[in-house]
């Protein structure tokens, strides 16, 4: 009987300690694009945040389309993506609140060294697309509804045309991530539009060369949005808001500017360039 009591008591202590244990970090889910994750920016930014707020941030690295969808399905607490129109829609439909500009980088075009379509001297990104289409040179599109793909589509829209994979033999939609798409372009000796972070990472792994950059049309702003707690009461709204505050604070912005890989800055804090926030 004594043994029994002792055991019960032991169990009780164990159980109560399980309940009073409050050091367990809170789990926050950040749904984001593959690029921010692959470049290591998130790990770098989140480490101090996790420490200071006693939380663990799980980053889902997805294409922008899915990153937003996951949040709509209630499976994330906040998002960090780059597709302004889709972001605004996300807020307008009530899924998200408190959208903030965080940072930007830019897109550029790579292609074969010989540049058969002559895009080097183009005056705008739209003209680059026009030249490639006119020369019917292979162009590999992301084709995955990502932020990069959406941007590329906006150029075709301006040209009032819509090349189709399969119908137009020079135009191919990969439906894959940036690095995979670049590889396909390399194999097909074609042109490709990519973000600067991927470019910095991959430029030594490809035969293609940088041919066009610097147009305003190619700026790529990232926004952060908290998931609306009215839609999903279980979201970690307070921590999401704190994280957004952290990224947009002077300290956070400086950290973003300081983040370099192989000596090159990958992302540019937003407050320095308000035109990117347009």
């Amino acid at each position: 009987m004594k043994k029994m009591t002792a055991m019960m008591l032991g169990l009780l202590i164990l159980a109560s300690s399980a309940f009073t244990e409050d050091k367990e970090p809170v789990k926050v889910i950040l749904s984001t694009t593959t690029s921010t994750y692959e470049t290591g920016l998130l790990d770098y930014m989140l480490a101090p945040f996790e420490k200071e707020n006693n939380c663990k941030v799980h980053s889902l690295s997805l294409g922008t389309g899915k990153a937003i969808q996951v949040a709509k399905d209630g499976n994330a607490d906040l998002i960090l993506v780059h597709a302004r129109a889709a972001e605004d829609q996300f807020v307008a439909e009530g899924w998200g609140v408190n959208r903030q500009d965080v940072m930007y980088n830019d897109f550029l075009f790579m292609g074969p060294k010989e540049d058969p379509a002559g895009i080097k001297n183009a005056k705008s990104a739209t003209e680059v697309c026009k030249k490639i289409a006119e020369a019917e040179q292979p162009f590999i599109s992301r084709g995955d509804d990502s932020g990069t793909h959406k941007r590329e589509m906006s150029f075709w829209k301006k040209l009032k045309t819509k090349p189709e994979s399969g119908k137009d033999s020079w135009y191919m939609e990969a439906g894959q991530g940036m690095a995979a798409t670049l590889k396909i372009a390399d194999e097909k000796n074609g042109y490709v539009m990519l973000d600067r972070a991927t470019y910095n990472f991959q430029k030594e792994n490809t035969r293609l060369v940088l041919l066009y950059e610097g147009d305003d049309e190619l700026l790529n702003p990232y926004g952060m949005i908290a998931v609306n707690p009215e839609k999903y009461p279980s979201v970690k709204y307070d921590l999401a808001m704190k994280m957004i505050e952290y990224f947009t604070s002077e300290r956070g912005q400086k950290m973003i500017a300081d983040y370099k890989i192989k000596g090159e800055q990958l992302y540019f804090p937003n407050f320095k360039n308000p035109r990117a926030a347009k």
């Binding site: 997805l62 294409g63 899915k66 119908k167 894959q176 194999e187 035969r207």
Partner: protein, 233 residues
């Protein structure tokens, strides 16, 4: 939950409406898997018969290797063929990577061990009893072999269907070697991977349903066919 039901109703709409792109994806999957299975059978079935009927040193080793290769991950086969076909690889000048041909090469290599190993064990199961019966009935060597082939055919066909199912359902090789290029190398499985990553569940579910339906249809036809044939005999 909405998106699941939304996905299913969108799936039904796609299947019924005869959406061109949808059915061309399905057709491409069937086409590539069939070609790969045919190629693998032309190579694998004779090899299996050879392995069972001929005795030579290293035979068991080959069979063991083939058995273990049955479970090789699709991405490993993909990686291997990728390295060979890539522009920087030994066959780079052929510009074959990210074409339908590349997918067929990878898929054929993927199921070749499946065809060989399953056929070997099928024939082995038949081997003794059939030959003993045949010879006790007075058949000569050549007749024995003919009886043997004819007895083995259903078993071998079942092996080929298993091989077909394996390529039809795989995604690693198709993605790595085909590149999921729209209207060119996009198959059912790579399309599912893409559409899911875009958050488009409707198309994914529709493709999933068709994938299962095709697999079922093939197995069902085979079952009916063997039954019909066996009762006719």
């Amino acid at each position: 939950m909405d998106y699941i039901f939304g996905g299913i109703s969108e799936a039904m709409r796609l299947i019924v409406s005869g959406d061109g792109e949808f059915w061309s994806i399905v057709w491409l999957s069937v086409k590539l898997s069939s070609i790969s299975t045919l190629l693998a059978s032309f190579l694998g079935v004779p090899a299996a018969f050879f392995l069972v009927l001929k005795r030579f040193r290293g035979r068991d080793m080959i069979i063991t290797i083939s058995n273990s290769l049955m479970s090789v991950p699709t991405v490993v086969v993909g990686l291997f063929v990728y390295a060979v076909l890539s522009r920087r690889g030994p066959l780079g000048d052929l510009a074959l990577l990210f074409t339908q041909v590349a997918v067929v090469i990878g898929q054929t290599l993927l199921i070749l061990p499946v065809v060989i190993s399953l056929t070997v064990s099928t024939i082995r199961a038949l081997d003794k009893s059939v030959r003993e019966t045949a010879s006790s009935l007075g058949a000569d060597k050549k007749q024995q072999l003919m009886i043997f082939f004819s007895e083995a055919r259903f078993g071998v066909a079942a092996c080929l269907i298993t091989a077909f199912s394996r390529v039809f359902a795989e995604v690693g090789v198709s993605m790595m070697l085909g590149g999921n290029l729209r209207n060119y190398t996009r198959t059912i499985t790579t399309a599912i991977a893409l559409e899911t990553s875009k958050g488009e569940f409707g198309l994914s579910i529709a493709l999933g349903i068709v994938l299962l339906a095709v697999a079922f249809a093939i197995n069902f036809t085979f079952l009916k066919f063997t039954k019909l044939y066996r009762t006719a005999e």
